[in-house]
Structure formats: structure tokens, C-alpha cells
């Protein structure tokens, strides 16, 4: 196998496929990416068995063939070459990378050992606006858990709800729900956040084909294809967690609230919550930490309801307010021990529910 391509193009396809390669994989072969050259096309595949990224590049083919090259090393090697044309060649168990003078040689990995990746089934895929979809995902992903002990909570749940796509994530302390009215398709499954986080940088584009089915989730664009094994198990029944009515509602500027949370967070820690004292003039945020000090400030707003003090973890609160993409943010509360719900002042498509900290 031997090809020639522009350095920057080569770095791009290698590094994007490399995003699926785990840094500490137990199998040495998974530290490599599969490179296949047929005709004028070079395809690069990286996988950690859970998430697979395939990218493609049109190259000047000198000799067709396939090889597995060490992902991180080869990508960095190409990146460090002088700008211009780069030749990538595999022969007799060695990979050779040359361009503008320098010559790298690496041990080739075994093509036979590289896992067989099936071609993703795109027959059910629907087209979505990649930017809007990515934005919707970002809004809910913050609420997902990173704790591998509870795999169910490390994914974003896709479901088809009343003629639109709904995305849901929870780490059991907060819950984010985002409806995507523009997408009316039967996408259903629990997609690992780890895969979704790589989506934008690996194959994300303004036009995206999406299929989420029984075994895998597939995201495809002109830049390549990302496939993720869906998480097995039943997603918690989140509907029962969302209160049906809210007697008390705060409306406040998102920007002002974010700035206030940011200042309070300087003093707050994971176990030191921010207290919100809600009253008709708005909300007073305060934090106080034993042996350190505190911060208090008032954010003007509109509050209708019973005066109360409710406390939230600063990070959870920040994530939620941040995810609301409107100028005005609404916080609905019931009482200091029941969840609060954040949403935009106008939109109906997003809500972020968070459990308070009991004082």
C-alpha cells in the first residue's frame, strides 16, 4: 500500500478516526487505525469496540492495499512533517511516512487482528440539520452521568415522542429533556455520551444522517461515519419525575444569573451549595463556607409565589442555566426539597430539572 496526500488532509482523516481510539485499550491492536486504499479512496477506521469512526480521503494512489498503523504516533508524525505532500507506505511489516525530507518508520500492526467492523445499515437513517442537532445534544449531555458504575445514566436517551425526536439525559441528580420538533422519525435507543461528545469533532457537519436502532446508533456525513453501540437496559421512567404544576416561578436574565452563579461558585464547592432566596424582587444568591467566607448578591427578576430558600449544587445549577439558550430563564419551584425546573422564557423545547441540596 502506498499513497500520496497533502499533509493537512492526511492529519485530518487520521486524527478524526483516531478519536475513537481509546488511550488505554487493553488490546494493543485497538491502538491502531485501519487504513484501506482502493481506487482513489483512502478509508481510515478507528474503534474501541464501543465507538467506531470511519473517515475518507481522496488520495493519489500509487499502490492499493491495507494496513493498520499506530494511531497516535502516525498522526503526530504526519503533523510534524513540513507542509506539502506526504507519502504513506506499508511494506514488509513497516510503515514509512515521508515528506519534505524527514522519514518516519513504524512497526505495522496486523490487519488480521483488527476487529471486523460491519458496514453500518443506513436504510433507516434520517437527515437532520447537523448544527441544530449538535446544539440540542449539548443541551442534554451536561445532565448525563460520567459514572461507569451506572451505564444507563451515561447515555442520551433518544425517543420518538408525539411526532418529534426527544433527547433525555440524567445522572440521577438532574434531568435534561430536549425536544427536536424538526425531526419526526423513529429514532430510539440509549446512545453513549462518550460517542456523542466525539460526534462534532469526528464527523459533524451541517448535514447529518442519523439512525438509532436496536443495536447501534449511526451518524454519517460527508466527513465520515460514527457508529456507537447503544447502551443496553431500560432508561428510568423520567416522566414521573417532572412535576405537573409549579406554584412558584422566577423569571430572571440568564446572563445576570450566570454571572452571579459564577461569582458564588468561587466560594462554593461540591458539597457547599448556593442558596437561592426567592422573593418578589428576584433572587438573592448566597454561599458561605466554614472557615473560608462567603458571597451574597441580589439578581433582579420577577418572582411569583411563596418566598422560600432553596439550595442547589453550584455546578448543577450553572450547567442548567447555561444550557437554556434564551435571554430569560425561568426557574419553577415547589418547595425546598422538591426538584426545581429551569427552562427558557419562551421556548417549550427544553427543560432541565435539578434536585436541591437539603440544608
Amino acid at each position: 500500500m502506498r499513497i500520496r496526500a497533502e499533509r493537512d488532509d492526511l492529519v485530518d482523516v487520521l486524527s478524526r478516526a483516531g478519536r475513537a481510539v481509546g488511550t488505554r485499550s487493553p488490546l494493543p491492536i485497538l491502538q491502531g487505525v485501519l487504513v484501506e486504499v482502493t481506487g482513489k479512496t483512502m478509508r481510515v477506521t478507528g474503534t474501541d469496540l464501543e465507538v467506531t469512526v470511519k473517515t475518507e480521503l481522496e488520495v493519489e494512489t500509487i499502490e492499493e492495499g491495507q494496513t493498520v498503523i499506530p494511531s497516535r504516533l502516525a498522526t503526530e508524525a504526519v503533523r510534524k512533517l513540513p507542509p506539502g505532500a506526504v507519502v504513506l507506505e506499508a511494506k514488509e511489516g513497516e510503515i514509512e511516512i515521508t515528506g519534505g525530507g524527514p522519514r518516519f518508520r513504524f512497526r505495522e500492526l496486523s490487519v488480521d487482528e483488527f476487529p471486523k467492523i460491519e458496514e453500518p445499515d443506513m436504510s433507516e437513517a434520517v437527515g437532520v440539520d447537523g448544527d441544530a442537532f449538535g446544539e440540542a445534544l449539548r443541551q442534554v449531555m451536561v445532565a448525563a452521568s460520567t459514572d461507569d458504575a451506572r451505564p444507563i445514566l451515561t447515555g442520551v436517551f433518544f425517543e420518538h415522542e408525539e411526532g418529534k425526536l426527544r433527547l433525555v439525559a440524567t445522572d440521577s441528580y438532574r434531568l435534561a429533556v430536549r425536544d427536536v420538533p424538526a425531526v419526526d422519525a423513529d429514532l430510539s435507543g440509549l446512545v453513549p455520551v462518550r460517542a456523542l461528545k466525539e460526534l462534532g469533532r469526528s464527523v459533524g457537519a451541517s448535514e447529518l444522517q442519523v439512525a438509532v436502532g436496536g443495536r447501534e446508533a449511526i451518524f454519517s456525513s460527508s466527513r465520515g461515519t460514527l457508529t456507537a453501540r447503544v447502551i443496553e437496559g431500560t432508561f428510568p421512567n423520567y416522566r414521573q419525575l417532572i412535576p405537573e404544576s409549579y406554584p412558584s416561578r422566577l423569571r430572571v436574565s440568564r446572563e445576570a444569573l450566570l454571572a452571579a452563579i459564577d461569582r458564588a461558585s468561587l466560594v462554593a464547592e461540591d458539597h457547599i451549595p448556593i442558596r437561592l432566596a426567592l422573593s418578589s424582587g428576584g433572587v438573592e444568591l448566597s454561599v458561605s463556607r466554614q472557615d473560608v467566607g462567603g458571597e451574597t448578591e441580589h439578581v433582579e427578576g420577577e418572582y411569583n409565589g411563596e418566598e422560600m430558600i432553596i439550595a442547589f449544587n453550584s455546578r448543577y445549577l450553572n450547567d442548567g442555566v447555561n444550557a437554556v439558550e434564551e435571554e430569560t430563564v425561568v426557574l419553577d419551584v415547589l418547595d425546598p426539597l422538591k426538584p426545581g425546573v429551569l427552562r427558557g422564557g419562551e421556548g417549550e423545547d427544553f427543560l432541565y430539572l435539578l434536585m436541591p441540596v437539603r440544608l
Partner: protein, 529 residues
């Protein structure tokens, strides 16, 4: 119970002892007279209320509202405030960890003179003792004598006078408690039953009935609570009691200790031994020397005299490894430690243990304070008569453990940030797996869920299990702020309901469906934790 009204200056609610209620001799607003004023910066001595006692405290005499709280009417106090509140003693009652008087039930109890928070007390003892004067041997260590055996003897008089071994009778059985008749022939608790039976061939082996011991233990502690709320439960049959507050009621520490022993014997027909000293370390050693059925007071000033002839093994925290190392140095008795400079000791036996030994030999209690000042973990574990080999049996055990751990956490008023699973394989190799939660937990459902996952990360499924344990670390008081979880309340309410039933009708009144008919089949021996 003596009624007393007490509050602190600066608090919003109601009747309060002003921080400076008046000059000595004047009437206190609550009734009693003031017998002294400030005795120094942040110290004072007042007599207040309807109780003919005295109030003493150290620290700033105001309780400040916490920084940044609207109105200051908060239920949360800074550590300094809590410490100060704890250092206030009213007659026989220590009012400690006092909180917002207007709101919580702790407060109500405080108003009735009952101490609220027990655990942090130990940390205050040093400062407190200096103020107190008199009654300087104020730490009592009460240890029930051959507790399990004596509980059995109450219902089986035929066991009296015989060598009795309480413990599992099977191959894996271990002596949980031995009567003094058996101990005289070399039987020790923790010894394999087979070995013990060789020492006392005519001994009577009684299978343990932990619910009976637990019940008797609760009664013992009720009696001790009647003396003073400053009781720290060390184990089922052992407690440290700060008797400093009882000095107005007993002429000497010895009289007080005798009264406790007599009360337990009168009400429960159980023998106990008491050691009294100025420090917990010495008190604990003294109670051991007082056994059986005795009392030993080590007078203030004679601690070192008492300690130094003791074999080093008697010191807290000296296990086999340390013993071997210090024996190399030619150290046998506690007194021998004094012949070494601290640096040498630290160099030879390690920083932690060396410093601890040196400190203890000089009458300190560095090692103990760390052990007992705060509870660091709570755990439940069990060794099984026959190895567990099926997933179902292991899960059932984990469920039972999770239930117990949850109840213990709740009783101790903690939630755990970290859950650790301990597994001992049949070949005695032991592994543990740990999980730390984003927010602490105490519900049995959450503990079980994580324990089961942790079990999946061990080789238990193909190697089998000899011992299973679940522990909670990173304990956070339930009165600390706590992140709530979605759907949390369902489990918590259930756990609480179950516990109420158990409190009222006994431990076996309600249980997990999955564990039904299980306890009887299980011949395992509980290991004390």
C-alpha cells in the same frame, strides 16, 4: 428529667440566657442565680434555670449567625460555634452541638437538657477538662464481662459455672465470646472453635443469638444514657462515658462507676467492669485489668506509673507486625519505650506507629484520638460456614448486608460517600472494590445496587466467597447539607418505615422478600465490626 430552659444570645427565638446575664449574685432571667461572671476571655460560670447546676463554657460567648445568611436565623453553625456549644455543660447534662432552637427536634431535646451530638465530644475533652477542675479522672470505660455468655446464662441458668463458648459450632466456627471458666484455660475470642474445644473438651457450645445480644446491649446503653448523655458506644458491649458532668452527684469517680455497674446488674443481671482514668487509653486498659466484675480507677498523676510496667501489646493499635519490630529494639514494656528518643523510635518502626507509641508511653493518646474521635467508616461483614458459590446466594447476602449497613448509617446519622465491597476468597486472599458517589447515599437500595456491581468486578463468580463485607466511608452527617437525588425519597421513606417497624417489633419483624427463610439456613458467624 430535669427541665431547663436554655438558649444562646444572638438567636432570634425566645427565652435565652443572655451572653452576659448579669453580675455574680444577681437573679438569672430564667430563675436560678448567677454564681459567677466571666472568668476570662470567652469563659464563664453561671448558674441558671430551674436546675441546681452550673453552666460553664469556653470560647466566645455569643453564637454568631453564619456568614451570608439572611436574618441569621439559620440552623447551621460554624465549627467554632458548635465546639463552643458543646463545651457548655449544664448540671448532669451536656448541651452540645446546639442548633437552631426554634426549629428542630434536637433543639427541643436541648431545651430539656439532653445532649444532642455525641461523637465530636472526644475532641473537646482536652479543652474541657482544663475548665472543669476536680473529678479529673472523668473518662470511664465500661466493658461488659463475657457479654454473650452472660446473656445466654440469664435464660439458661444451667450454663452458670460452666465453660461456655458462644460461637458457630461448625468447622469454620469462631469463638465470639467465652466464659471466664473457659478463658482461664486459654480460650480467647476470635479463636477457631475447633481449637477452643480442644482446650475445654467439656465446654458447652452455644450458637450465637445476635438479636438477643443486640437487645441486651440496647438496654445497657439505655441505662448509661440515664446517667449522662455523654456515652460513646464503641461496640455492642463497650462504651466510653464522660462522667465529668456527674461530679455534682457523686462524691468520686469511683462511686459513679460503681453506681453504673450496680444499675446494670440490678436491672439486667449482667456483670460489667469499669476502668476510670484521665484518658481513654488508660481507662480502657484499666477496665481490662478490673475484669471480671470489677472497677479500677487510675488516679490522675499515676497514669505513667500504671502504664509503664505493661507489656507493649496492651497498647492500642499494637499488632503483630509492630510488636515484632519493637521487640527487635528490645522493647517489652511500655516503660521501655521511654529509653528511646522519639526520632529513633520513628526511624525504626515507622512514622505513624512510632509517634503513636512514643506519645502513648508519655501518657498521651494520639492513637486513640484518631480511632475514636470521629467515626470514619461503618461496615458489615460476615464469614460463611460454607463458601458461597452461586450468584444468587451472594446477592442475597449483599442485600442483607446492604439492609444492615443502611440501618446502621441511619442510626448513626450518617450518609456515606464511598461504598467498599470486601471479598475474601476460599483461599483467604482478600480483595476490595470501591465506588465513590457524586452525592452520599444511605438507602439500602443504592448500597445494594452498587455492591452488586462491585461484586461483578471481582472473581467471586468463579472462585467462590468465604467472606463478604460492605462498608461505608467518607461519612457525612445527615445534618450536613446533602444533595438529593431524583426518586430518592421513595427509597428513603421505605427504609425509614422498615426501621420504625423494626424498632418497635424487633429486627425480624420485617425483612426483604428475597431474604425470607434465609436467616435460619445461614449458619454464618457475624464478625464484630
Amino acid at each position: 428529667m430535669v427541665e431547663i430552659g436554655l438558649e444562646f444570645a444572638g438567636k432570634a427565638a425566645g427565652k435565652i440566657v443572655p451572653s452576659s446575664p448579669g453580675p455574680p449574685g444577681s437573679e438569672h432571667p430564667l430563675g436560678g442565680s448567677i454564681i459567677g461572671g466571666r472568668t476570662g476571655p470567652g469563659q464563664g460560670r453561671y448558674r441558671v434555670g430551674r436546675l441546681d447546676g452550673a453552666v460553664e463554657w469556653r470560647g466566645d460567648d455569643r453564637i454568631r449567625p453564619q456568614v451570608g445568611q439572611p436574618g441569621g436565623g439559620s440552623s447551621r453553625l460554624s465549627s467554632a460555634d458548635r465546639a463552643q456549644a458543646k463545651a457548655i455543660e449544664i448540671g448532669v447534662y451536656h448541651v452540645t452541638g446546639v442548633v437552631d432552637f426554634a426549629m428542630s427536634d434536637e433543639v427541643q431535646r436541648a431545651e430539656h437538657g439532653v445532649r444532642v451530638y455525641r461523637r465530636p465530644w472526644a475532641r473537646l475533652v482536652g479543652g474541657y477538662r482544663r475548665v472543669m477542675g476536680g473529678f479529673s479522672e472523668h473518662i470511664a470505660h465500661l466493658d461488659m464481662d463475657a457479654f454473650f455468655v452472660e446473656v445466654e446464662r440469664r435464660r439458661r441458668p444451667d450454663l452458670i459455672g460452666k465453660a461456655v463458648l458462644v460461637g458457630g459450632a461448625g468447622n469454620r466456627g469462631v469463638v465470639a465470646s467465652a466464659s471466664y471458666e473457659a478463658r482461664r484455660r486459654g480460650v480467647r475470642s476470635g479463636m477457631p472453635m475447633i481449637q477452643a474445644r480442644r482446650l475445654v473438651p467439656h465446654g458447652v457450645v452455644v450458637p450465637p443469638d445476635h438479636s438477643a445480644y443486640r437487645e441486651a446491649s440496647d438496654r445497657v446503653f439505655e441505662i448509661l444514657d440515664g446517667f449522662t448523655p455523654s456515652v460513646e458506644r464503641v461496640s455492642v458491649d463497650e462504651a466510653f462515658i464522660d462522667i465529668g458532668g456527674l461530679r455534682l452527684h457523686y462524691e468520686s469517680p469511683r462511686a459513679c462507676g460503681e453506681k453504673m455497674r450496680a444499675a446494670i446488674r440490678a436491672e439486667l443481671s449482667l456483670p460489667s467492669s469499669v476502668g476510670i482514668a484521665t484518658t481513654r487509653l488508660v481507662a480502657k486498659m484499666a477496665s481490662r485489668d478490673a475484669k471480671p466484675d470489677g472497677i479500677l480507677v487510675i488516679e490522675a498523676g499515676t497514669e505513667l506509673h500504671y502504664l509503664h510496667p505493661k507489656h507493649v501489646e496492651a497498647l492500642w493499635g499494637v499488632g503483630q507486625a509492630t510488636r515484632a519490630r519493637i521487640e527487635e529494639l528490645g522493647i517489652e514494656t511500655v516503660g521501655d519505650i521511654l529509653t528511646f528518643p522519639r526520632d529513633t523510635l520513628v526511624r525504626r518502626v515507622g512514622e505513624a506507629v512510632g509517634a503513636m507509641l512514643w506519645s502513648m508511653a508519655h501518657g498521651g493518646e494520639a492513637g486513640m484520638a484518631a480511632e475514636t474521635a470521629t467515626t470514619r467508616s461503618i461496615s458489615v461483614e460476615q464469614t460463611y460456614e460454607t463458601d458461597l458459590t452461586t450468584e444468587d446466594s451472594m446477592e442475597r447476602e449483599l442485600l442483607a448486608h446492604a439492609d444492615k449497613l443502611s440501618a446502621r448509617l441511619r442510626h448513626a446519622r450518617y450518609v456515606a460517600s464511598t461504598i467498599t465491597l470486601k471479598v475474601r476468597y476460599p483461599d483467604f486472599t482478600t480483595v476490595s472494590r470501591t465506588h465513590t458517589f457524586a452525592a452520599p447515599v444511605s438507602s439500602s437500595a443504592e448500597i445494594f445496587d452498587i455492591a452488586r456491581r462491585l461484586l461483578g468486578r471481582t472473581a467471586a463468580d468463579h472462585r467462590g466467597v468465604r467472606l463478604l463485607g460492605i462498608g461505608g466511608d467518607g461519612l457525612v452527617g445527615t445534618d450536613e447539607p446533602r444533595q438529593l437525588a431524583l426518586g430518592d425519597s421513595v427509597w428513603e421513606e421505605m427504609d425509614e418505615a422498615v426501621e420504625k417497624i423494626r424498632d418497635r417489633f424487633g429486627g425480624s419483624a420485617v425483612g426483604r422478600a428475597r431474604l425470607a427463610d434465609f436467616d435460619e439456613q445461614n449458619g454464618g458467624m457475624s464478625e464484630p465490626v
